[in-house]
Symmetry: C2
Subunit: 296 residues, 2 copies
Amino acid sequence: MSVMRGLSAFPITPATPEGRVIEADLRRILTRLVRAEVDSIGLLGSTGSYAYLTLDERRRTLEIALDVTRGRVPVIAGIGALTTRDSVALARHAAEAGAEGLLLAPVSYTPLTEDEIVAHYAAVADAGGLPLCIYNNPTTTRVTMNHALIARLAALPHVEAIKMPLPAAGTIADEVAALRPLLPEDFVIGYSGDWGCTRALLDKADAWFSVVAGLWPDMTLTLSCAAQAGDATGTRRTEERFQPLWDLLRRYGSLRVAHAAARLMDLTEAQPQPPIMPLPEAEIPALRAAIRAMEA
Amino acid sequence: MSVMRGLSAFPITPATPEGRVIEADLRRILTRLVRAEVDSIGLLGSTGSYAYLTLDERRRTLEIALDVTRGRVPVIAGIGALTTRDSVALARHAAEAGAEGLLLAPVSYTPLTEDEIVAHYAAVADAGGLPLCIYNNPTTTRVTMNHALIARLAALPHVEAIKMPLPAAGTIADEVAALRPLLPEDFVIGYSGDWGCTRALLDKADAWFSVVAGLWPDMTLTLSCAAQAGDATGTRRTEERFQPLWDLLRRYGSLRVAHAAARLMDLTEAQPQPPIMPLPEAEIPALRAAIRAMEA
């Protein structure tokens, strides 16, 4: 079964203002995920600041993570970069270091053509030789993947999953139904955007790529299990408690909210990398209340 | 008078597939610009691949350029980066190396808030202490700057110019007229998007940030001088010859077209950095014809 299925927890990568990853804090955050036995760790995703760290720090982060997990929970490493050269180098390192999967966003500056995106994925997937998840995140990459492009990428060797954004229009059920016939058998369709992901699981998506699971893995597992079991009523009841947090995530973005929450939970003192600013001070009481509501 | 006025030539930065800048080719390309006496060189702009080169190679590129120009033509250095840390470091280096100006785009991954953009510009402008041009390029940065944000940035110390994209709607004349009262006296409003820039100069913009000037500085100077002198008829007549090139630039983007043209002109063998692909082979005859038309 693909390493990409189920609940993938996306932790922050705590780092100093100089961009140096804080090893002790990273270990503390990851240890919680291993203990909770999430299905995988989505290391160095958008919430994991991959776009803001040097290649050296990214390699170091992965090595620390693999030393924490020691094979107990698979690590999927974010290897997106503006150049094919950098993503290829990260993919090779991840494979050598022992990562179980790769997560690749079509990071762009000059808008990419579809052929450029496909060639980029082909080169990086080939270099890594590990199960690769397409990181479809138009909010950050500015690449809007149509279904034909997704089908082209999904047909490449090693590509076996996609992390979808919540649909801008229409339902997840319709989207999944439209995508399935275009993709190889057993291809993993997962979603991110925590506030919409139990709906995705209830609608037969295969994975939830989750920011909240990076901080509250046990509670998120309870929620994802209910949704994966098709228990709509139980899911709805449990999820009510998450609502205030969903509101903050939608308003301020995962990077800012997850760092602020990790600070409130004494997991780290780290802030996002500038120019990204911390969650405004005025919202800290609301965040504190949202965490209390969830843990109630 | 601001170093940002007039015709600023934006050359490519020739580099190997490994991302190493090719010094001899860079010198060859820049020497043409110095001989033609363009008003400034916009080094390491989008066409100069700044987003695809390491910080070390960017520093090296600037040092080579300053050795070529030796004060005869001012160099405005692109210092955009995803982190404030990197842009600050590049700004400091540029000032120490002897650049005459800075060009800063709000490069983003996580969408930036306006406060984040302003704090980023303030920190970088302060670190450099050189005349700074706001690089307003929504196509690549995904940041759409409204007039209020532009006014906030323009009020910062050292910020003295803006490089605007061609307006998505409305005329340049209306846009310039709307912006002027919001900006400090003598603030430089310039445009990029070569196919619309003589219109900008005729409509009293202060600068043309030009890709074609990076390859054909003499011809572009003729065109920009006619437009700056308000000679609409002469401008139109001269510009007719550029039309086939404008068409290719609009269709394939400056990075791909400028590299292909530089190859046809035997200035370099360099290609864009992958994942950016070269101009399709099938378009080379059209490019050759466009160059011939322009040089006729």
